[in-house]
Symmetry: C2
Subunit: 563 residues, 2 copies
């Protein structure tokens, strides 16, 4: 940073910090009559929402929550979660959005590690709480959340022992007067725990400034550039990714700031999701490919084409395949793709079809729409080589995606070693290998730990598996790098054959060589050894376990009889 | 500010400051092929623009400009001005956008007061420079700007003695490699001088953070809420207010960040403005009422209705009358109104027709479109009473508009006394009297110095003049407050009669009393004394000189023979 002349300030002059409460204030300013809907159970306008956010702040204050304390939320996507996004943070407290997909032991670890003081918990998660409650060290107050209260106001007569009350009952009769204070914009606002393949969950965290800037970046991208066109005036927003996972990609902050109509679906029930989509006129969502796939292939889809053709969906989490993109586009669903991580709040890139691409025939657009998007506003992205130099953005050269920007976690909570690794060299390391085109499309190839470094070149194990999958008789494949004296590493493949085939390593290599001869494949991509197996080792969530293959199957692979 | 827990930061973690260069970087990211047009003389795409901005930074560095130095610009609206907006500020230097409407003596004062180091000056302003050059104390380099170079490359063979060269000639052949550095976001970016009725011009100034935030606020308002719908994809932007005047309302920063097509008209020549509007397909502008009036009443208007009906225009500077609004709307021109000051960067409010108002018949919309707009995103506005308390936002109670927000000047440069007055009590005092409706419409009534404070009530002198103007035989009127023992102040009126009329004070008061009886006028609005005059004292720019009336005509008014 160079030295410059700063603006002088008159003693009484005021310049506000950028806080989440500034976005909340906007939600009341122009369209207070627009609605926030929860399932088929509850709806309110922004006036009521603002009152409830303040009531919640008063309830939490009554429970002893002070600035700097952490409040943990166990809930599905709901209006209550949205209320926590604004109330907890604007009090100066920290919202821990509990990752309910972790094992109970891991959840226990995160609750203790984050030093949660108060837990708000949906009754669906009480069994988990029961299993771990004895070992929770810092929580002294519990609030029950239950959907039953929206059906029958008397349903929640009793709450479990040790609970301070039920959410709606506590809000009721509590004052809606609460003036959210000013404080430093670098104040800690939210915490979320993510897992790697090893070690304890890692806590990422974001400040008010970071979440404000993430919202501004999103607003610029989807409203300004109209990358995925979002109009507060006509769009109806419904997330179909969990709010605990980096704030449902930050869209609830944007939708609330712009006082757009919002719909929250609670625990995902495919029938209810579809019903809400149709009845509430949802036009803007984000989800993982699995959910889109369910919808596209449901017999109901053709029937509801009129509404589906107004639906814009951003896919994230896993890659959007060309087949699914085509299926969705054929129904009129506008599909887009985003890329980010828990560490990045999360948006780092998002589909943006520019003036030259926007009017291409739909089939030609699929190539663009299945990419990981174009680099988002204010995010700087580079491709880092092993030696810390940067690879060119030519659409071919591979490197690890490293990033800078206004909304990246500044470390892992109380984990200085992994935090230092994350930020090694002053860039956030994503662990993803990609190329970037000169016009800023991000083309993700692999995870860094799986990419194969051979003779100075990076070979994407995913690209190689894709090539193998296209060969006749190959049911499944896995490509890993193993150490090689001459080249550093060399690729090797495991292949599961389809029933009735009798493939040979030589046959496969010959076919691959044809691709090399045609110029479709670099010659260093051809695996050294091919091992036929009956199944490929997978992780608990069904991903190919390349780490185990490299460690446990090394000798077997290198001993495979190949020509 | 309360104490909270700030986010911890890993040693190498990076979070960027919010700088103008971040907006510049965006201009290249998605639509580099879009164009910036200057009159019928020059056009370029954003690739060239970015190169020229860096060339300019190199030229200025060569002229000795260092971070913290001030560079002064004397030019009409141009692509060169836009280049200065980004190049000078992103170097860490300060851009003084010279107020060329001041007198030469005042311009001299501002150049010396701002301690300008380098002056870039359009040849239209050389006569002014010649008049003051001997007395300029801090400038050591001059750069000539001339439009002739776009017509004939050899036209600028010679530049005046003491000049370092001509703008285009200096850029040509200069490297387009320049890495804009990181620095504190509170770095001084721009300075502009504004005048009051007394004293020297006052220097307002804005930081990188403030201009970044102003752009985010505008983007939220015109792209997010679609208050005045702006689409980078389809809109073509042409300012028709000067760029020296608080950055042409900040829209050039927004348009550049979003890489929208932009058109700059140079010195305003009505024919050329219309030609550009038609030929370049301009759809988004802002101007003072006079310019809109000229266009609406030009015989050409009906002929070009097709293009004019795509034109969105924000009016500022003076109030948009209902008549002009109607004339414009009848041509299909979408008119809006904005409110702000040099001190506020400037946007504080802007027309926003919400869901309940947007589809009203055009005639019913006129009432809304001629208001000063709705409070802009992130701006806090209050109505301050004389005793420092706040008046309610009920659409009736009057108070002085005071504001807070992320982009307000933090004082007047080296003028601590007037800076302290501006920020008295921690709110920026606008000197404008208004009411605010519960749904955030700003209704401006008067300037504080002209409002009449009688018996605890504030009477708008403008409203009173409006009432008088509607009476038969009244050609012109001026209403001022004079001290009164019982009521503090009381209103008094000067009236110029239309030829052929013989009005009397009693007659006028009787007519006003009828309005009072009907409930159209508060009884304390009726002036104590009415003085018939042959003309009303005006300032040099044609405004009623109420200060002079109060000081020089006091005895005459109080001595007027009234019943």
């Amino acid at each position: 940073m160079i030295q410059t002349k700063l603006i002088p300030r008159t003693a009484e002059a005021h310049e506000p910090p950028m806080l989440i409460k500034n976005m909340l204030a906007q939600s009341l300013r122009y369209e207070p009559q627009r609605e926030i809907v929860y399932r088929d159970l509850f709806r309110m306008n922004y006036v009521t929402f603002n009152q409830r956010v303040r009531q919640l702040a008063n309830v939490l204050t009554g429970l002893g929550v002070q600035p700097g304390d952490t409040v943990a939320m166990f809930d599905w996507d709901s209006h209550r979660y949205l209320e926590c996004f604004f109330a907890v943070t604007s009090m100066g407290a920290v919202l821990h959005t509990v990752n309910i997909r972790l094992s109970p032991a891991q959840i226990l670890y995160t609750v203790n590690h984050a030093q949660d003081k108060v837990i708000l918990i949906h009754d669906d998660f009480l069994p988990i709480l029961t299993a771990i409650k004895d070992q929770i060290t810092t929580v002294d107050k519990y609030v029950l959340i239950s959907d039953k209260v929206y059906v029958d106001l008397n349903a929640i007569g009793e709450v479990p022992a040790g609970f301070s009350g039920e959410y709606e009952a506590l809000l009721k009769g509590t004052s809606a007067e609460y003036e959210f204070p000013d404080f430093d914009e670098n104040t800690w606002a939210t915490t979320f725990y993510t897992t790697g393949t090893t070690g304890n969950p890692k806590g990422v965290y974001f400040s008010h400034r970071q979440l404000f800037m993430h919202t501004m970046g999103l607003a610029s991208y989807v409203c300004g550039y109209q990358a995925v066109p979002f109009s507060a005036m006509t769009d109806v927003y419904m997330p179909i990714t969990p709010m605990f996972h980096v704030h449902a990609w930050g869209f609830p902050f944007l939708a609330t700031m712009l006082s757009a109509k919002q719909v929250y679906a609670g625990r995902y029930d495919p029938e209810l999701v579809l019903k809400l989509l149709l009845q509430e006129g949802v036009t803007f969502s984000h989800c993982v490919p699995t959910i889109l796939n369910m919808l596209v292939n449901s017999p109901a889809a053709q029937k509801f084409k009129a509404q589906l053709s107004k639906w814009k969906v951003i896919i994230g989490g896993s890659a959007l395949t060309k087949g699914l993109a085509k299926g969705a586009l054929d129904l009129g669903i506008q599909v887009y793709q985003g890329y980010g991580m828990s560490e990045t709040a999360p948006i780092m890139s998002l589909t943006y079809l520019n003036d030259l691409e926007r009017d291409l025939p739909i089939d030609d657009q699929i190539e663009f729409r299945t990419r990981a998007g174009r680099i988002a506003p204010f995010i700087e992205m580079r491709l880092m080589n092993d030696d810390g130099t940067f690879a060119p953005h030519d659409g071919h050269a591979l490197g690890e995606i490293v990033a800078r920007g206004p909304w990246l976690t500044q470390g892992y909570y109380e984990d200085p070693e992994r935090g230092a690794d994350l930020w090694k060299g002053g860039w956030l390391h994503t662990g993803d290998v990609a190329s970037i085109t000169p016009d800023n499309w991000v083309l993700i190839s692999d995870r860094t730990k799986d990419v194969i470094k051979t003779g100075g070149e990076w070979v994407s194990s995913l690209d190689m598996e894709d090539a193998l999958s296209q060969l006749e008789g190959v049911a499944e494949s896995a490509v890993v790098g193993l150490p090689d004296e001459r080249w550093g590493e060399r690729p090797h493949a495991l292949i599961v054959q389809k029933p009735g085939y009798e493939l040979t390593a030589d046959g496969i290599k010959t076919e691959l060589q044809t691709k090399v001869d045609r110029g479709d494949l670099h010659k260093w991509y051809v695996p050294d050894r091919i091992l036929f197996v009956s199944e490929i080792p997978k992780t608990s969530v069904g991903k190919i376990d390349k780490k185990r293959i490299r460690s446990e199957m090394k000798e077997q692979i290198l001993g495979a009889v190949n020509a």
